[in-house]
Every structure is written in structure tokens, then in C-alpha cells.
Symmetry: C2
Subunit: 340 residues, 2 copies
């Protein structure tokens, strides 16, 4: 057993529920030798899905649960009250050390709350940020925090920079990743109170490659590898880009359909536009990790398919194999000790 | 003279300087009967440009200045020290009542500082927000504040909602404009401290059409007419959209150039894509007003051409003719009195 890395998943979460979640789990264990998946969810539903596939029995375990966390309800109440939900039970497996990671396509709010309340923060970590990989013209960057902790303080952003750097280096393979703080301009006198107070702290930090302020305009052009900001700004950056990309594609399609000439052209360029849009398909990159916890919690999209679930499970395996949390612990402790 | 509305402009501002600024002024006075423009700037440079055009002499006046505000320097120092700069002199004309509006393509920071220090805020207005019109799939919305006042308080955002509603109704002609506050979700428990505190105040306000929270994802789809947020978030929303649009166009072009088939298609769809991008060409909508001042200050893009300058001048005329400031004053006073 000790050779296996175990990942617990919420088998019922997301728009597609067990249908896609179970298929993702099966594909993950079939693709990777050392992974075992514990699927939490309604026993009958999960087993019906599992029956469709071939896989090594010992690599998948079903832990039956009777409840489900609702997307529209209060995350805190759901996590506190639904003790036998697929999400709560799976997160507790991580807390107890029976699984090293957890993946869910369920309620984002509940995943964030559960991560902090059930899995718990690493010693010294003040807030656990949500850190999705976001595509840009040059590759991908890590956006940290994309929506976990509202009203962050400067010392939180400093820890985001440390954790994000380690993640990008170890998991994404970018050496000495460039860390930038989102700001309204690159000049040092610019920014709100939070940015002005955080800037000198980041400058002081000797274990990250801080390149200063990055303007939101340059983020889609790959201005830095680790994009540090508070959760409200990060969420706005992430979501408005999703909205604009879909708006533009919609408008270009409408505009192309207006004449025969452009219709013909549209048919010819379709693959090229699709290629670009595929670069912006975040399901390729696994899910968004909630960093700084005693274990790894990964949030995948509500409409995630088996592909995204599989990638997120393998992401947990990679995270565990590379001992990313040990390095985060070391980096955080160094700063905590320095402050004493 | 009293039949004319006078607009003072910074004849030296922007990447294109007098060349485009003067042409915009000439086109404005030639297009509109009741406008007079005072151009502040280097006398020789301005007169050389003016000599190229035909216009009624009495409609353009040159006020010679000897200095220029630098884009890269500290805005506060520039405004305080360069008393004979084209920007400072033109703004003072507004303060003295000799002009009702001011337009500049110069340093954004200096325009914002000068607006507050030289032109001055209307009685009762606590902060003057920058409010550009931003395109969406359904038309245009007003983004308020897009970058003027960092670290806003709830009462500031309430005034933005009031001023923005009046501007959209009177200048853009949208009846009973829908006001939304930018938030990470539409549920009432979501948001940072600022949004949570502002939300109930907006709900109480009976002279605006408050529709609640709008998610950044829905902003490009025209979720509301007046998009209320603090300056940091507004700047991030505005700038990341500009960056993403240019990144996508760049990537689609590259992708189209990869094969003969898509190259031919690209030539055919080019006009359709151009049409869409034109919708996102903000120079069509004049400039971004700084609202809540005793007069109107309009910031146009650094790379503005004569077209944008002309539109911004006519925007000042429209603003003055429709007595928008009287209505803002009335709306703000009503709330101020209510609070007593």
C-alpha cells in the first residue's frame, strides 16, 4: 500500500456528477501505475458507473455517502451540517491521512470552506489561496489568489508569492518563476493600500524572483509566471477574461454569418480559431489547487468532464510525489522564524 | 459670448501632441455651431498647426503656455510645480469659469490629480471617479470608478452609482439605467468587506435602479448599464480586457497564417473581425469623464487622434447643455441632507 498515492474524490460533484467523475477516476488509475482513488458518493450510482469500465479492482475503493453539498446553499452551513456528504467525507480522508489529495467539481464555496475547516491549514500558513493556472500568449501563469480569501493582508500576499513560486517550479517546471503583483501601474507610487504595503515585503524576500508590479493589460501577454493579488481582484481578472473571450467569439461568429463571403472564410478559418480557443481551455491543466493546506485540495470546473477529473487526480499524485508541501512548509517556516 | 459653450484643451498632451489635438479642436468648432475651444500650449507649435485649417477665427483661442506635464513623473509634483503647463493652465480656466470643460490626452495621473486639486470637487461629493464607457455585446456600459480613487469607502461607491446613473441617462440616453456592483458572486453572502457594506446602502437608494451584484464574467455581455466598483478593481477589469482582446487577435492572426487554407479564409473574414474590433474601439465614445467636479474633466487615450479629441470636446458641450452637473448636485445633496 505504501507505494500507492491515494486521492479521494467527490464522486457526486459538478454538473455531470458520477457519470464523468467516475470515468475520470478509472482513466487515472489505468494511466498511472501508482495511483489509487477513493470515490465518495452514493454507492449504487458509483457502482453502476464503475461497472461500465475495466480497471484493477484494488486501485479503486468506494466509500458510500448519503448526502450531497448543494451549490446554491451557504457553504459554511453545508460543510458543517452535511457530515455524510461525498465532499465532507472525502475531505476527512485527507485530514486523517488516508488520502493525500482531494478533487471535486462541486460547490466552489464549499470546497474553499471545507479545505480550511476540514483539511486544515499547514502550520504557519495564514490563508489558503486558490491558484488556477491561466493561459497567456506565451504559455501559462499561476493566478494566486483567484477567489479564496476576501480582504487579504500584506503578509497573506507574501505567503501566496512563496507558495505560488514553489508550485510553478515543481509542478509546472518553470525555473525561477517570475513573481509579479497586480497593480494599476508599474511606478512605485501607484497602487492601493494593500499593494503599497505588500510591495516592500515582496522586495525583501530572497527566495522568490520578484519582478515588481504587473499591469492587468500585460497579464494575458505572459508578463509573469506567478500573478499575486487579493482574491477579489484575482476573481475579477479570471472571470472577466472568460466572459470577454466568450463574448468576442460570439460576436465574431455573428459578424461572419452576415455575408456569403465571410461565411466561406469562416468555414476555412474555423480550425485556426479553434486552436487558439483550445489554448484557453483550462481543463488541459488539471484543476485549481487550494495551496497551504495539510494535503492538497483541487477544485475543478462545475462542468468538468472525465478529462479534467483525470488530470486533477494525476496533479495530486505529482504534487505528492514531488513533496511540494514539504517545500512550502520549509519556505513558510523560514519567513516565520525570520520575523521572530 | 454667452451663447457659446467653451471647452479648454491641453494642446500638447498625448503621444500625438499638437498635430492631432489641434485638428480635433478645429473639427469640433466646424461641426458644432455653439462651441468655442481654448487651446493651451506652445504658441508657435499650436499656431503652426492651426494655420493648416479653415475655421471661424473667433471660435478658437490660443492661450500660450511654456511647460508640459511629463507622463512618467509624479502627478502631484507635476501639477503643483508646473504652473505654466498646458494642463494646469487649461484646468484653471475651468476653475475660473472661463471654460466649462477640459480635455487632455496627457498623463492620466496628472489629469486625475489636477481635476481634484485645480478644478475641485462639487460640494458634497467625496471622491471624483473616472468613468469610461466600455463596450459589451449589447451596447455600452459605464465603468465607475476605473482608476481615480484607490481604497474607496462604501459612501464613495454610493455616490458613483448616483453620478453614473445620471450620466448614462442624460448623455448616453439610457432610461432608468441598471446599476450593478461588481462582485465575486450574486449571492448576498458573497463579497469583500467593501461590497458587503456598500450593498445595503445601494439597495436603500430610491433614485437609482439597483439590480444587485454583477459577476465580472457577465460584464462583457452587458449585465448592467452602470458598473460600480472601486478604482483598483475597475482598472483591472478595463485593462485586462484590453490586454486579452489584443492577445486573442494576435494569436488568431498567427494561427490563421499557418496554412494556405486558413490564410485564404482569413482574408475573407477580415472585414467581419474588423467590424467586431471596431465595436471595441473606445475612441468612438469620446473620452472618460472624471465626474463630480465643478466642471467637466475628460481624459482621452494617450494615443488619441483628432477624432477622439473632437468627440470629447462635443461630449463636454453635451454635458454642459444638458446641465448634468446640476442634476448630480441635486442628487448628491438629497442624500447628504437625508443623512443629517
Amino acid at each position: 500500500m505504501s507505494d500507492y498515492i491515494t486521492v479521494a474524490i467527490d464522486g457526486m460533484g459538478g454538473d455531470n456528477g458520477a457519470l464523468e467523475m467516475v470515468k475520470g477516476a478509472v482513466n487515472a488509475v489505468n494511466e498511472h501505475d501508482n495511483v489509487k482513488v477513493i470515490i465518495c458518493g452514493d454507492e449504487e450510482t458509483i457502482n453502476t458507473e464503475l461497472a461500465k469500465y475495466e480497471y484493477a479492482d484494488y486501485k479503486i475503493e468506494v466509500v458510500p455517502t448519503t448526502e450531497e453539498v448543494e451549490v446554491d446553499a451557504s457553504p459554511v452551513m453545508e460543510i458543517r451540517q452535511k457530515k455524510d456528504s461525498s465532499m465532507v467525507v472525502a475531505m476527512k480522508l485527507v485530514k486523517e491521512g488516508r488520502a493525500s489529495g482531494f478533487v471535486s467539481a462541486g460547490s466552489s464555496g464549499a470546497i474553499l470552506v471545507g479545505g480550511q475547516l476540514l483539511v486544515g491549514r499547514m502550520k504557519g500558513v495564514q490563508r489558503a489561496p486558490l491558484a488556477p493556472l491561466v493561459p497567456n500568449t506565451e504559455g501559462i501563469s499561476l493566478l494566486i489568489d483567484a477567489g479564496a480569501n476576501m480582504d487579504a493582508k500584506p503578509e497573506h500576499l507574501v505567503q501566496y508569492a512563496q507558495m505560488g513560486s514553489i508550485y510553478m517550479e515543481k509542478i509546472v517546471g518553470i525555473k525561477n518563476p517570475r513573481v509579479g503583483i497586480v497593480n494599476v501601474g508599474v511606478e512605485e507610487h501607484k497602487g492601493n493600500k494593500l499593494v503599497k504595503e505588500t510591495f516592500p515585503l515582496l522586495k525583501e524576500l530572497d527566495d522568490i524572483n520578484f519582478i515588481g508590479s504587473v499591469e492587468p493589460r500585460d497579464v494575458p501577454h505572459g508578463a509573469c509566471d506567478v500573478i499575486v493579488c487579493d482574491a477579489f481582484v484575482g476573481n475579477a481578472l479570471l472571470k472577466v477574461q472568460e466572459g470577454l473571450a466568450s463574448a468576442l467569439v460570439h460576436m465574431i461568429k455573428d459578424s461572419i454569418m452576415k455575408s456569403t463571403r465571410t461565411k466561406i472564410g469562416g468555414a476555412l478559418v474555423k480550425p485556426a480559431i479553434k486552436d487558439v480557443m483550445k489554448l484557453f481551455d483550462t481543463s488541459e491543466y488539471g484543476g485549481a489547487p487550494l495551496l497551504g493546506l495539510d494535503g492538497l485540495v483541487v477544485k475543478i470546473h462545475g462542468n468538468a468532464t472525465h478529462k479534467e477529473m483525470k488530470n486533477a487526480i494525476l496533479q495530486c499524485v505529482d504534487f505528492t510525489e514531488k513533496k511540494v508541501n514539504d517545500q512550502i512548509r520549509e519556505s513558510i517556516q523560514k519567513t516565520v522564524n525570520k520575523d521572530k
